[in-house]
Amino acid sequence: MLLDIKNLKTEFKTKKGIVAAVNGVDFSVDKGEVVAIVGESGSGKSVTSLSLMRLLAKTDKTKVTGEALFKGENLLDKSEKEMQKMRGKQLSMIFQEPMTSLNPVFTIGRQISEAVIKHDGATKKAARERSIEMLRLVGIPSPETRIDNYPHQLSGGMRQRVMIAMALSCSPELLIADEPTTALDVTIQAQILELMLELKEKLGTAILLITHDLGVVAEVADKVVVMYCGKVVEKAAVLDIFRDPKHPYTIGLLNSIPKIDENEERLFIIPGTVPNPLNLPSGCAFRDRCPNCLEKCKTCEPPLINLGEREVRCFLYEKENEANG
């Protein structure tokens, strides 16, 4: 197991109280596997990834607890210096907005070389060679000349390719991709996803994909983790999620995807909105929006219920579990 997250909690102290943006998350990523974290805005996806990379600002207002075991070592216990050595070398990250995630004043070659020089102790010349190689790998035409381009001379899709080249230049074992295709148009999205899969095959990098787009999930993920209000509500293999979603929230999410063969006037929506994290309802956080809300849901919080290969946080499956067990 490459990454094993146990009871990860990230809390922010605000003036109005403590917000648990990530509230006891467990999941794991195996070598060479693609795990997708899905959820709507505010469900704690990005905070999970930033907590893993230890990129949240270090102030007394942020508290990260739990365990994030990367090859058996807890990332949360590492010193900042140790993290700096690991970032880029063992775990890397790409961001949502390729237009702004490259430094506008440096050539892309210099930015890719930076990590190689830092982590592998390469000379400038060797780093340049490596950068050209990486640019070729991510499918940028004539990388020998492109390497001296500035970010503003590239299109959004090209920039995301450069970001990927940068993140993978030291062959990390885990790539965290925080909504890597959200800012790109649909054709480029497909290309970038295909590229990520191809690189995963070639380099054996595991990918933790953070997204709200179920289309992306269907295309690339092996396992899916559905998050709601900072908690995992369902964990399953990708086919199981699409074939047989269990949690009412997952069902709602899948129903909200417009289908090409149906001619409906209005799209399906999950009624209500995400509750305020400062004022979560008692019991199940999803109960106000849930079509199958039970009396029990209002008072007790459902645990993650194990259904063999998958887990779901919902009382509806409690009996099923007992029957199975």
Binding site: T100, N103, V105, E114, A115, M166, A167
Partner: protein, 305 residues
């Protein structure tokens, strides 16, 4: 062997194109300055002043019509004439020679004090802006305290503690102008700190030092350069004020402000004694301001696109 040759050729090509690109950018930049008439005039005057100061430093008295320090008392307080373009002062020294000789002093005060204030201000501002927290609170309150005094008054206070003289004037002026740079740098760092490319730079394992100096500062260079250019004129003005008050550069050195101070008692019978040093100050300050404004436009990425 063959491939080696090829790559070295390729490298030459890319390095050629790099220097060409730099040339092109420089040309664009000059073009933008020239297209702004006021900035162009400012640039020309600044360049003239710099050339005069450099030539004067190299050749000394050789390039001046008269010795700026020894006068001929028989020729004191003469009006401007073909022999003495700007006239002579109370000791019979040639004012033209003295004004020219003062150029290098004023320029030196301006440039050195800005360089000191800029580097210290940049360090304070970037540390405060990047790390924030209590350190930021503490350092910025010190800066606020310094800013609360009129800068000239504070400089006078420092001078009375340090003593008179050119070097001390430079130190006093740099200390009182540090907060201006610290504030500007801090503000810019705050706006860049949260940007995604800084996050990305962290995500590939850079340490704080590398992020501040390699990723944040290069992105905020243009407002700092503009502020520094405008700061030179401010420093020259402050130095002249200190000289006028008898605290800065001491006679017989020909600093413009000192000349004004020494000549003020002859103002009614020989106004040219203070007219020409005063004009020199005005023109220099104006030139740096015009150039600084033009620089701001030229470095503005929106206009540069």
């Amino acid at each position: 062997m063959n491939t080696n040759k090829l790559t070295s050729k390729e490298e030459q090509k890319t390095s050629m194109s790099k220097s060409k690109k730099l040339m092109l950018r420089f040309k664009n930049f000059i073009g933008l300055i020239i297209s702004n008439k006021a900035a162009f005039v400012g640039l020309i005057i600044v360049m003239l002043i710099v050339i005069v100061a450099i030539l004067n430093s190299i050749f000394g008295k050789l390039m001046l019509p008269y010795d700026p320090f020894t006068g001929d008392l028989s020729k004191s307080l003469q009006s401007p004439s073909s022999a003495h373009f700007f006239g002579t002062d109370e000791q019979g020294r040639d004012i033209f020679s003295r004004v020219i000789d003062g150029t290098k002093i004023s320029l030196r005060v301006g440039v050195i004090s800005v360089a000191i204030a800029l580097s210290l201000g940049t360090v304070v501002g970037s540390v405060c802006g990047y790390f924030g927290g209590k350190l930021d609170m503490f350092l910025m309150r010190i800066m606020d305290i310094v800013l609360a005094f009129p800068s000239l008054l504070l400089a006078i206070a420092f001078m009375s503690a340090l003593g008179k003289g050119l070097d001390k004037a430079v130190i006093a002026i740099s200390i009182v102008t540090i907060p201006e740079y610290a504030r500007i740098v801090r503000g810019c760092v705050l706006s860049v700190r949260e940007s995604e490319y800084v996050q990305a730079a962290k995500a590939i394992g850079n340490n704080e030092f590398a992020i501040i100096f390699k990723h944040v500062l290069p992105n905020i260079l243009s407002p700092i350069i503009v502020r520094a250019t405008l700061g030179v004129s401010g420093a020259i003005l402050d130095a002249a004020a200190l000289g006028f008050l008898g605290l800065g550069v001491q006679p017989p050195l020909a600093e413009w402000g000192t000349m004004l101070g020494a000549g003020r008692s002859y103002f009614f019978n020989a106004p040219y004694i203070i007219l020409f040093p005063g004009l020199a100050i005005t023109i220099t300050v104006l030139a740096f301001n015009l150039f600084g404004d033009g620089l701001r436009d030229a470095l503005d990425p929106k206009l540069n696109a």
